[in-house]
Structures are given as structure tokens and as C-alpha cells.
Symmetry: C2
Subunit: 715 residues, 2 copies
């Protein structure tokens, strides 16, 4: 047990060389945390690196500036005042809508700027998410996804809708999923039949099972929707799912148009500011022009015209516009994970419990090995997803930009982005899910208070595992991608990887022959070696899955059955490992770009070692033994000892590490996680200022006069 | 991919030999599920066992009768009508209080009956929990724990309070935890100083950090509390924590007494019907008689008298009355897990998605390997915790009964119960935590609806991981127990195990020499062999931990540091494995008591194999390789193949397996999990009947007139 917490007296924070470094002049972004009194100080003074420098590694200054512009606006705007208690559902919808409008209206950045620096779009939304994701989701769908889809799939006939949208004259939503069909979009039942006599499409919903549902913004606010429907031409032919812009509500009265039945999906586990809705159409006519016709059009007589013969390819293209959603979810998840780990680390550094027998000394719970192991591996993985989300956001941004400017995006990079976003979204969501849960538990009883926020974070992250592709279904896109390339031979990976997520597999055969040949802790904790291990894991699982599919084929199973019967212990693990490995290597690249001797690089390297060692130990030892990569029994011990040695080292840096990624207290908004670490003062403050904390309940007579219960109970 | 779902036509359910078997005459408990039309029928007809017989294996008929008495009362009582939306906090408190009073008032069983058959007490509470745990928690604390503690720790002076309590003339609560001290109760700061002049104790709370908190029932309803305070005698000596009965509120006006400041802890992640509160005392006098004096008393002059010299031992005894809480939590968790798996299995058997290429056939998602692996291992572990909770409930019941009747409970069985409840509570809670989460994800988007209930189940189970001992701290009680016995030599386990949870360790040395010597799937899936593996795991982790503590001691670390530094990868894993192993062996015993050839025994054996194989594969392979129990690389493959072979077999039994443990639809109360499997009809019904589903929001003008946003956004 480290005694370090007992002798705290230092004049200057170890890691902060120059307190007045001009690069950190903006005190809102780089507050003087080291001047705050309180329980966190001993840790801040012990940290060996400059948290402000680290802040600029996790996001560049312009990004922090946009974030603080958003947070500053919120803090000054009465609309963003918080309530002490969960509001009624309708109230939550109302306030989220008003907040969404007011902040979007603020034009913190314009669509033009967005087209210039797509990164800002995501980070603007990140800043809002940190306050309340319902707002960013409503903006993202209503004023982001909606116009984007029109821009990428619609022809010039409908582009004016985009301008109106940016002037907030219409509010969009996106309707694909139906009550009885989600992942299996091919079988959706909503129809759009072309009527040459009126040059319009007639929309119909056969029954409730075919109602479009889970449509964010639809329940109470949207005026227009992108609707995917089976397109029928007068000759009775079905041309598969096509996207249409559909006016839903009268812009002046906000009443749904005749033929459009809009329902609210009701209360959800969380994200209740978002009014998810469902809609049924009954002979509802929309002008022909509202077909988003870039992938296929209908002439006045009703002939279907397209340059893409294969309907699957056509649908693939019309869905391509959506992969942005998966990329965005990596950032959503990262934002939740950051808030959770801030709260848990600061609380654990402030909360004292137990101490040496027969002494008055009490240790912060962060000093205990158990608590360190419960949190520090998550701190490492949150840094990992932070860098991964930045990377995939940048790469996707570049592509979108090319798309808008008409520049050609190579088929390979499109496919690789599809694959890595289909693995990265599930894996990031799961990493954050586990992080939030352990943070909740590590904060004990007080972590169960609503005001601690950990419950909301868990409930907000939960849909990340489902929407934009149910994780276990979506992730098959990644394994299919890897298996298809493998079928063409290992060397095919070289040209299949403009983004560099699978290039390493060109040496698959050599990788499969590699072995664990380390007997020193330093070696197994070395990132380069851990990457070697991750490479083997992906290659091995790919080969295992590839062989499984071959043997199932040789048994004469259909491709459908082969795919379904090669998931568990095979394709599913492969895709997850592919995601883990890319998150790991992105983190490593990030470090390799830092100045060699910098203390930030040093601590990040330790974090990466912790991330890798714990990931391998808790998830992949089976694979390494099964694949004969490990043949000696000491591998476990080396990793375990490496982790146990690193825990107390990172423990002293943990507070500064969360300071680096932390938004202001107004945004963290948890009595357990404030920057001064004064947990009990904030708890007392919160409880004493909650209405009716000390009052006798209005229904006190129901407590006192129990005779009233006899009647009801004697029915 | 099994085609079985396509050719469904059978006249009599395979597993139900005699449809009119008189043992199943009560149609409320054994409804004719096989007569219900709908998507679940094909599975019900395929099941090879009689779900009604299985029902009686999971709980005896008298228990089901008590449960149905409770559920029937609720269904007939308007107080138990459900709302479509989360109620405001104060409303939730009010309704939970009224429901608690009315059902307790119903005297479904009396305290006398409880003393006769303690099991009924737990199962009565189980039935209420299945509807809403807030009610059972309020009753359990107010009318169960409160009188029990007085009976076991108080002398005759206070026994009248027990009778009043059972007449609902007082409502109890239990105040131990303080804001800044939970697990470390020794350092609590609330004081009770004896004043000889008035023959009373004066209670004081130095500051907010010392406020008693998390006290269920305290916030709004309790009239009395059990308060643990540091007892000071006039000579200024502190005699450690002692328990007192403390009147809190005037029974007629329900106002807190002068000197008592009661606050409400506010909104929590869930369980919001329970009014958790905090309390501060300021020179608050209570009569001397209110000291619960069985473990220590004060004479009129203020001399402390006790037969237990060691204060720690004294406190141990006064806490012994609390282990019932941990046993109760095993049952709470089991109840949540049962509801979750019912919902997920029924939904997966009803929900169809995808089918063979170029066909109109759609498969229930339960037909997919991935979905099977997501749910069936959890179905197995829920059966496992069901049997474990029954076992520990019975054993604890026997002890309590002895306690009340004054019969001697052996020190050994007391210690073993303390250990196994300290491991069983965390492990059961974690098993159910993971089950609920996977059920939530496996139900996709519709599983995220509030009405699906999976979110509430997760949030309700969450505190099980924290209260009655934070899991990671509490579980050390189990490892300490094992290490202490091991220190006396393996053979000491024989006499230390009246409950039989550690007796097997008397052969520790032989167990440590045992090896994996199976090369056939049947062998590794055989429960007896899996138990051999579990035995090795516990013995190995015990030896590993024991050696770790010895080496830390030899480095001169204090016992405090040794304990803290031998948790991660050691004592913590040991205690968890001990819990897993006991859950496993309880399940096995349960099976061994069934008639040899019965089809129920057959399917339960498969469930146990699934539970064991998956537990070993996902959690313990490291240990088996590290401990050289496994030396060949095919062990993984054998377990994986065994699981893959069993999944489609159990899949066909899954619906009947959840029917066997399912409460009536009124209690399951999820559109996804009703017994007829008509998911979409129930969803439509729920949404169409939710107020304001189709209406324009009252705040529609905030949507239409956006110019209103300019002012607020231009502050």
C-alpha cells in the first residue's frame, strides 16, 4: 500500500514545467486546476506530465474552442438550466426540442464550414452530447442526416429543401426501420406506387407491422421524412427499396397531413428528449419529384431508369450515405465513456475508506489494488477509443468531403471504411458499456444516485449497441469483408487497405507462424510486441473462420447457412478482434507521432501497455493457447505481474489523465466528479437544494391512517 | 440452419404425457399454454419435457400457491394498476407506500407462519418483487428487517415494538451507512452518549459526512429506525458501534421530532418507490431502554456491561443479524434474471428476421446460432442461480429458525454461511447483470422501449451489486474464510463445512495434482467432470492466493497491506470461483435428486453442461492452462464444439424452459414477453392506448414559430 498519499507537500506540480506557457493562455480551456484546494491536489502534484499538453493531444485547440463555444452558450442560456428530478416525458421532449433549435440557430458553425472541416461537425455534436445526447441526436437527424441524404441521393429538383432545412424552415427525420423488419431491410413492406395520371407516388403501409418506426424527431417535431419504400411501377414491377422525401406535417398548423398517421413511440430506457415515432401511410400522394433519384428514377410514363442493373448494388449505394451514423456512434460512445471515467477516477481519489489497523489514517480508495484494477484498464481503453474515434472521424470526413466535391472515392477505401466502421462501432460501444458499468459499481452507493449521472450514461450508451446496425448483425459486415479478401489469398490484403486496417494481413502466413518468445515483463508490456500478438489473433481467427466456412460449404450448406453457422467462436470473434486490433494500432500510431522524450508520450505508452496487456489477458489467452502461439505456462504470469506493476504507477497519473479530457464542471455535472473533488460538499449542496428534501410528504395521511387500507385490501 | 420451424403440425405436445394430470389441476398455476395460438406454439410442441413438472422442480407447489395468492390480490386491487409512463418521484413514493401497506396488511402469511416456514417469507417477497421491487424492499425493511433485528439483538424491554410493528402501528428502517463511511463501519461518527441524570442516550451527528444515509423508508415514511452509533459512557470511553431503536417521527402528525433532521436522498437510478433518506441528530435524547442490549448493556450509573470482551466480536454478532440481507439479494437477482430471460427467449422465438436467399421463408431469430449463443448460456445460468438461491434460502431459513427458538447454531455453520453468502450474493448479482444486459441487446430496438422492461430490470438489479456489502469488498469475506482454513492445512476443510461448500477441499492436494484427461466431447460436457474442473479451479486459486499472501508477509508487509495486495488475480478470483463452484454443485445436486430417467432430468443435465462448459470456456481457461491442468491445445475446441452442438438442442426446449419459471402475463408485463408471443399485437395495443400517442404536442407553437429562438440565443 503506497504511503505516498500521506506526505503531500510540493510547491509546483511535477509535470507542469511552465505554468504560464502561452500555448495554454485560454483559462477557460486550461484552468489552473493545480490551484484548487481539496483531495485531488496530491494527485495533481504527483502527475509526471502536463495535463494541458495532453489535452491538445486528445483534441487540437480549434476543436476545444468549438466545444467551449457550445458550453459557454449553454451556461449563459436559461433554456439549459438543469432540473433536480427527471421531468415528465412530454416536458423532456419540449425542452430538448427548444434546446436543439436554439443551439442550432446559434450557427456555431455553418454548413459551409462543415464542408471545409467535417471534423468540426462531429465535435460540435460531441460538445452537445456531453450535456445531453437527446439534443445532439435531434440536431444530427433533423439538420444533419436529413439534408446530407438529400444532397447525396437527390437530384437538383429537391436541393431547395436543403436550404430551407438549414434555415430551420423544415425539420427532417429518417424512416427506414419497420416494426417487424430492421436489419433485414430487403423485406420491408411500405410501398410507393407510381401513378402516371397524377405524376405522383402513392405511399401505403399494409399494416402496423410495416409501420416505419424508431424514427427520431418523427413523434412530435418533424415536418419531412426520408422514407425508404418498395418502388412499384404501373406495370406492377417492384424495383426494391428507394428513398423518398415525404412531407409529413403542415408547417403552419403542425398537424399531420391526411393519409399520414403519426404516432409517438413512447418512453424509452433513456434519450427521452428524442421523440421517436412511427408512421403509417394510406394512399398518401407525393409528387414524383420527391423520389431521391440519383440511384434510380422513373420517367413520366412510369418506366424505371437506372445505370445500376443490380438492385442490391443500387441499395448498397443508397445506404452508403448512412455509414456516417456508425462513425458518429464511435464518438457518442467515447463521450459517454469519458464522462464516466472522469466521475469514477475523481471520486475514487476523493473518497477515503479504511486504513492501516489501529491508525487514524484513511486511504483514498484509488490507493487500493482492487479499485485500481477496476478503473485503470478502463481509463486506458477510454483513451484508446478517444484516439480511434478521432482517426475514423477524420478518415470518414475526408471521404464525405470528396463525395460532396464530386472527387472520386476509391471502391477499396469505401469498402474498408464500411468494414472498419462496422467493427469499430460495436467494439467501441461495448468497451464503453463495460467501462460505464464498472465505474457505476466502483462508485458504490453514491454512484447509484441519479445525480451521479452514471445510470444515465449507461442508459444513453445502450442504444449505441443497437441502432445503425444491431452490433452482432452489423459486425458480420467486417468478417465478411475479411473472409472475402482471404479467399483471394493473403497477398490480396495489400491493395485492399488504403486506410491501413488490414494491410498487415498480407504477411498472414508469416504471422500465423509467429510465436510467443518473451520471458521478461518488459517484453510483454512493450506495445510493438503487443501489436504482434494482436496481429496473430486476427490472422488466426481469420484462418479458423475461413476453414470453418470451407468445411461447411463442403458439407453442402447454402451460403446463407454457412454464414450463420460460422459466427460463434469464429466470424464474430474475428470481427471483434479486428476492431480491437485497429483501436490498438491507432493508439500506437498516435504515440509514435509524439516527440520522443516527452513525458506525455511516456505515460501514454504506459496506458497503451495496460490496454493491450489487459485486453490480451482477459479476452485472448484462449486464442493464443489454442493457436499454439503460447506454449509455455508463464505467459499469464508475465501479463498479470506487468499489470500489477503498472497499476500503482498509472494510479498517480490518473487524476491528471482525466483532467486532460474533462469538460467544465457544468458539463460533467456530477457531485462525485467535480474538478475540486469536494464530493461531500457537492452532495450536501445538491440534496439540501432539492425541493421537498426535508418536508413531510403531501400524502402523509396515507402513512398515518392505515385503517384506510382495510377496504381496498378486502376486495 | 434448422428447417424445423417450417414444418410445424403436431396434435399433442411431445413432452406432456398426460394433459389432465391431476397434479397440475390448478389452471392459474398451470395454464393450458399449449392451446394458445401463435408463434411460440411450434416450440412448445417440440419440447421434450413437461414444463408443469419442471415448474414444480424450480419451486414446490406451496410456494407457487403463495405467489399466485399475491399476484391474484394485485390483479384485483386497483392500487396495482399500471401507468403508461414513469410517474413523478413523489407519486412513485406514494403509490409504493400504499401498495406496501395494503399487501402487508393482507397478511398473506403471518409472522408465526414465517417462523414455521421461513421459505415462505422469502417467496412472498419474491412474488412482490416480480411486480415491483420497491414494494418488497419497503416491506422487507419496514416490517421484516426492523422487527427481526429487535428480536435478535434487543431484550424484552423493546419486544412490544415488534408487536406494534406487525400491527403496522410503527414503520421501521435501518440506519448504518454514513455519507462518508460505508464498508468501513468501524469509523462511523454518529455518537450515542449515556446521560445518567436522565437515564437516556443523547444522539449526535457531528456533520453531514456523518449523516446516516441510504436508509430505505426513512425519507418519507418510517416512524422508527435501528441506528448504529458509537456508544460513549460518562467516563468518556467509547464502546464501539451499538444498535439503538430510535423514534423518528410523531405517529399522529408524521412530523420529525425536534433534534431529528430527516432528508430524502432524492432520485436514484431506479427503485424510486423506495424513499431512501438521511438523518442527522442534534442532542436527541432517547430512553436508555432503546439500546439493543443483547451484546452489551449500560447500567443506570453508566457502566458498560458485556459478556464479549472483544469489541470486534461483539460487532460481528450485532451484524450477524444482517446476513439475511445477502441471502435475500440472491433471490432478488434471480427474480430479475428470470423475467429478463423470459422476455428475451419469447421475443426471439416470435421475432422473425431473414431467411434463405430468394425465398419468402423467415426464421425466428432464435434459430440463428448467434442469437442462441447470446441467450441460451444465460438461460442455463438463470436456472443455476434459481437453484442456488433456493438452497441458500433454505439453509439460512433453518438457521434463523434455530436462532429464534434459541437452538444453538454451530460456529462453523455460521462462518460458512457468512462466507458463501458473501460470495453467492456478488456472483449471483453479476450473473444476472450480464444476463439482463445481453437480453436487452438481444431484443434489439424494441428491447430499448421502456415498456419492454429490460431497462428497469437492469436498473433494479444494479444496487444488488452494492448494498449489503459492495461486491468487491464483501467478497473478501469469502476469500479470507478460505485462506484462514487453508493456513491450518487442507484437512481442516472437513470440519469447517457443515453446509458442504468447502468439504471437497480436504482433498486439496490430490485435486491440485488432477489433470484434464478427456479427449471426447461427451466427457468434457459431463457434469461430474465439469465439477472436477471447478474443484481444481478453486483449489488452484486458493493455493495461488495462499502463496501470494505468504510471500507478501515474508516481504514484511502488514496484514492490512497483504490483504489489499493479494486481491487482483488472486483472492478476488478465488472468491468468485468459490461462488461459481457452489452454484454449479447446487445445480448438480438438484439434478441428482430427480428420477433417473425423467425427461426433466435430461434437459436440466443439458442446461448444466451448457452452464459449466460456457463458464469454464469464457472465464477459467487461463487458470487451467496456467495451473497446467490442461496441457493439450484441443481443450478449447472440445468445449466450443460441445457448446455448438448443444445450442440447437436446447433451443427447441427454451420456450418451455421459460414457461416453467414464468409468472402470469400481468406480472411479466412486457409486450415482448407475453405467453402468446404476439409481440406486434401487444406493442400496437400498448402504443395505441398510451395517452397522446397521436396528438399534436401542446407546445406545437414552439416548433412552428422558430423566430422565438433568436432572442434567447442572442444573449
Amino acid at each position: 500500500m503506497s504511503q505516498s498519499t500521506q506526505n503531500f507537500s510540493s510547491q509546483q506540480p511535477k509535470g507542469m514545467k511552465d505554468l504560464n506557457d502561452p500555448r495554454f493562455a485560454r483559462k477557460d480551456i486550461f484552468p489552473d486546476l493545480h490551484l484548487l484546494d481539496g483531495p485531488l491536489q496530491q494527485y495533481r502534484y504527483k502527475a509526471t506530465f502536463d495535463w494541458r499538453q495532453m489535452r491538445l493531444i486528445t483534441d487540437p485547440l480549434p476543436v476545444w474552442e468549438v466545444k467551449y463555444k457550445v458550453w459557454d452558450f449553454m451556461q449563459k442560456n436559461p433554456l439549459f438550466g438543469r432540473s433536480h428530478e427527471t421531468l415528465p416525458l412530454d416536458e423532456q421532449r419540449k425542452i430538448a426540442t427548444k434546446r436543439a433549435f436554439s443551439i442550432f440557430n446559434e450557427k456555431i458553425f455553418s454548413i459551409e464550414q462543415y464542408l471545409e472541416t467535417p471534423e468540426l461537425g462531429q465535435k460540435f455534436s460531441t460538445a452537445i452530447t456531453a450535456f445531453d445526447p437527446s439534443i445532439s441526436v435531434k440536431i444530427g437527424i433533423g439538420f444533419g442526416m436529413f439534408p446530407n441524404v438529400i444532397m447525396s441521393l437527390g437530384n437538383e429538383r429537391v436541393q431547395d429543401l436543403v436550404m430551407e432545412n438549414q434555415r430551420m424552415e423544415n425539420i427532417g427525420c429518417f424512416a427506414l426501420t419497420e416494426i417487424s423488419h430492421g436489419s433485414d431491410s430487403q423485406r420491408m413492406k411500405t410501398t410507393a406506387t407510381y401513378d402516371p395520371s397524377t405524376k405522383s407516388f402513392v405511399l401505403n403501409t399494409p399494416n402496423f407491422e410495416a409501420a416505419k418506426c424508431w424514427v427520431g424527431n418523427l413523434g412530435k417535431t418533424a415536418t419531412h421524412a426520408i422514407v425508404y419504400a418498395q418502388l412499384y411501377t404501373p406495370d406492377g414491377k417492384c424495383h426494391g427499396l428507394n428513398a423518398f422525401v415525404v412531407p409529413l406535417r403542415d408547417k403552419k398548423t403542425h398537424m399531420a397531413f391526411p393519409g399520414v398517421t403519426i404516432g409517438d413511440l413512447g418512453e424509452k430506457i433513456s434519450l427521452n428528449g428524442v421523440d421517436n415515432g412511427f408512421v403509417l401511410f394510406s394512399n398518401y400522394k407525393i409528387p414524383k419529384e420527391y423520389l431521391l433519384s440519383k440511384t434510380g428514377d422513373v420517367d413520366d410514363e412510369g418506366n424505371f431508369i437506372t445505370q445500376y442493373k443490380d438492385p442490391k448494388k443500387r441499395m448498397g449505394l443508397s445506404f452508403a450515405a448512412l455509414s456516417g451514423g456508425r462513425v458518429g456512434i464511435c464518438e457518442l460512445a467515447t463521450t459517454y465513456g469519458i464522462t464516466a471515467i472522469i466521475i469514477a477516477i475523481r471520486y475514487s481519489a476523493s473518497r477515503k475508506q479504511f486504513g492501516p489497523d489501529n491508525s487514524n489514517i484513511e486511504y483514498p480508495v484509488l490507493e487500493y489494488q482492487t479499485q485500481q484494477y477496476r478503473l485503470i484498464p478502463h481509463l486506458a481503453s477510454i483513451y484508446a477509443v478517444r484516439f480511434f474515434s478521432n482517426w475514423i472521424g477524420r478518415e470518414y470526413g475526408k471521404m464525405t468531403l470528396k463525395g460532396f466535391t464530386g472527387e472520386k472515392v476509391s471502391v477499396e477505401s469505401g469498402m474498408e471504411m464500411h468494414a472498419i466502421s462496422s467493427a469499430g462501432k460495436p467494439v467501441s460501444g461495448w468497451i464503453v458499456r463495460d467501462c460505464i458499468q464498472d465505474c457505476r459499481e466502483a462508485c458504490g452507493g453514491h454512484g447509484y444516485l441519479k445525480c451521479a449521472r452514471l445510470g444515465d450514461l449507461r442508459n444513453d450508451n445502450d442504444p449505441n449497441l443497437t441502432y445503425e446496425g444491431e452490433n452482432n448483425v452489423l459486425i458480420q459486415q467486417a468478417s465478411n469483408f475479411l473472409i472475402a479478401i482471404r479467399a483471394k489469398g493473403w497477398n490480396s490484403f495489400e491493395n485492399a487497405s488504403p486506410l491501413g486496417t488490414v494491410a498487415f494481413l498480407k504477411d498472414g502466413e508469416a504471422i500465423l507462424r509467429s510465436k510467443w518468445n518473451w520471458s521478461k515483463i518488459e517484453c510483454v508490456m512493450k506495445p510493438e510486441n503487443q501489436l504482434t500478438i494482436m496481429n496473430f489473433i486476427v490472422a488466426y481467427l481469420l484462418e479458423k473462420t475461413f476453414n470453418r466456412t470451407k468445411s461447411l460449404q463442403s458439407q453442402g450448406q447454402s451460403s446463407f447457412d454457412v454464414r450463420n453457422n460460422s459466427q460463434v467462436f469464429h466470424a464474430n470473434c474475428l470481427a471483434i478482434a479486428y476492431g480491437h486490433r485497429q483501436i490498438y494500432s491507432t493508439f500506437l500510431n498516435e504515440i509514435q507521432n509524439l516527440p520522443n522524450s516527452s513525458s506525455e508520450r511516456e505515460i501514454l505508452t504506459k496506458l497503451l501497455s495496460m490496454f493491450g496487456a489487459n485486453l490480451i489477458l482477459t479476452t485472448y489467452m484462449n486464442v493464443l493457447y489454442e493457436g499454439s502461439f503460447i506454449t509455455n505456462v508463464h505467459a499469464n504470469e508475465l501479463l498479470q505481474t506487468g499489470i500489477l506493476q503498472l497499476l500503482p504507477v498509472i494510479k498517480d497519473e490518473a487524476v491528471a489523465l482525466v483532467d486532460a479530457i474533462a469538460p467544465p464542471d457544468f458539463i460533467v455535472n456530477s457531485p462525485l466528479g467535480m474538478s475540486d473533488g469536494e464530493v461531500y460538499k457537492h452532495l450536501e449542496n445538491f440534496m439540501y437544494q432539492t425541493p421537498d428534501t426535508f418536508t413531510r410528504p403531501s400524502w402523509w395521511k396515507d402513512v398515518v391512517y392505515k385503517e384506510n387500507y382495510l377496504p381496498t385490501s378486502k376486495l
